[in-house]
Amino acid sequence: MTKKKLTRGKLLAAAAPLAAVPIVGKLALDGQAEASGHDHSSHSSTRVPASHVQGRMGHSAMVGEEAPAVGGPNDLDALLYPPPALPYEPGRVREYTLTATDVDLEVAPGIFFPAWTYNGTAPGPVIRATEGDILRVRFLNAGSHPHTIHFHGIHPANMDGVFENVEPGGQFTYRFEARPAGLHLYHCHSTPLKKHIHKGLYGAFIIDPKEPRPPAQELVFVMNGFDTDADGGNNFYTVNGRSFYYARYPIRVKRSELVRIYLANLTEFDLVNSLHLHADFFRYQPTGTGDYWEYTDTVMQCQGQRGVLEIEFAGTGLHMFHAHQSEFAELGWMGFFEVVD
């Protein structure tokens, strides 16, 4: 976009060595036309800046009706609440069907993003299995471009979703054992990779350990962004696909009860994303594997990184969470837990 202005070059250049005269009416009235150098403070120190007005609504108060988010209160439940964990059972087969479709997703009020999706949402559905299950994922490509599904985890190289491009109208069934336990990802691995991922072909992939985790209120947060004007940078940031959604509809959890969040970063273009929780601390297990837990209120994830958070909220009320990159927070990646007794 080019900048237009009603002016002449000659009007602009001449005054460079001179200071602005803030109130033009005074110019000749008080004979102070000789403006005094570059001292801007002389006219701003004695009064409240013109830009500021007391009592204006700030961003931090953008909650509930105030928050510009798309849709109704339970629209994203299928992505937020994962399917239940099943107890370990040797030789069990878990079947999923994923269909790639082109969908115009409303990611912010009135903003439609021409997405490529698994099953019509970005992120796609949560895939869940218990360690040792045999996963059979049937993939149908109803989109307009060739796609694949590349799962993170340990599996045969020919089930990796890299070599078999599934053409539009085609299908492929991925079959492998679910391991290791942890939080993983799946995403399209067709080239150009950046395009296929940022258009929306990704999701969370939970493998539960054979020894089950303690019962908890479980949530899935897939952090992502949408580059709606295709300029190589995100215009909106979200958790689970809609900017400011959980600011508009805070997530209700119970005080003192265990809450487990499966957090994954599938943001394209930006190197890292993060989650910061207000007014409490949580335990963080990188990749959902191993015995190491960090006790913190802020975690950072590179593209493709993920981990498991556990917390028992100490107090009730609205607890904000957001990316600690302020820019992402103010472009949609912000929400609240409503902690109740």
Binding site: K3, L18, A20, G25, R56
Partner: protein
Amino acid sequence: MEAGSATVRGRMGWRLWAVVPVLLLALAVGFVVTSSSSLVDLVGTNPPPADEFDIRRVEFSPGEIRITVRNPQRDDLTIANVNVDDAIVPFTVDGPTTLGRLRSSTIVVPFDWVEEDPITVGVTSSTGIETVEEIPAAIETPTPSVEGFLGYALIGALVGVLPVALGLLWLPALRHAGPEWLSAFMAFTAGLLSFLGVEALSESFQLQAALPSALGGTGLVLLGVALSFLGMTALAGRLSGGSAATGLALALLVAIGIGLHNLGEGLAIGASFALGELQLGTFLIVGFMIHNVTEGLGIATPVAKTRVTILTLAGLALVAGAPTILGTWIGGYTSSDVLGALFFAIAAGAAFQVVVEVGRYVARSAPGGLRSGYAIAGFLAGIATMFVTGILAG
């Protein structure tokens, strides 16, 4: 009687024939409209619309930013999201949210902006395309007030009326000049007006080029130039009773030509200052004063051998200088870029017409006519003087 009605019928027949091409054109248009997509399909695919807004004006007031946007394209454009400094902000729209072709709305954003900091505003369409405007320094936009109104008037008077009036004071000296020197000064006036005309024309083209293509045809400039040129020609004819303009009539024409130019000049000063793009410093105002003092000389020369009252001279100074004041008001408090382009085109047309009038006068009255050394040197000196004093103002 019968022969008479046959003539009438014949005349009607010709008129009907005149309608035939219009009807056929309507049919052809109907065909193209109904088959437009299949017609395009024969040769390829249309590119998608740009879906970019034309951000016309960004105004700052305490706790608030107002963004005026226009839809420059054929397809509708919907305001769906507004960013300030890369942050989504709540907003309301004063006007329609979905803009038809060339329609405008003003977006109102409650925002605690920081004085003198650079700031960017972004308006995103429903298709996700963000149009960004960078403001180099946020300052409060002047709102109409008695103080501001008088301030602009004062500045307009300083850069417009005063220098012209001062220039008119050369009149007593001019009365003693010989005919060669008078013709040189008249040619000087023509050079000065040529300079102003070219400058106004260039400014008009620049403003026109920045308009959305639907509004920004070069025809707009030509229309303005032709309108004022022909209008001034008619006026010159009336003032001088059909013969070539001389004396007071010529002085008035010169004053009008200069006045129209000064209207544009005031417009540019007012608009640039209001948009925070211009520092109205002492140097700039002094520069304009020196630049414009020669305009007074141009008006005085035609009446060098005519008796004029001081009141008449004051009137001429007002005709040439007062439009600057009007211009600063229009530029400072309104935002019509179409009007801006048109004003400058009108100024150019008027200036060129007066050059013609002055040229005729010199051709007839100067010893040696247009080819005399005095006339040629005077013309070139007029251009050179404007150029050199213009450096002071820019």
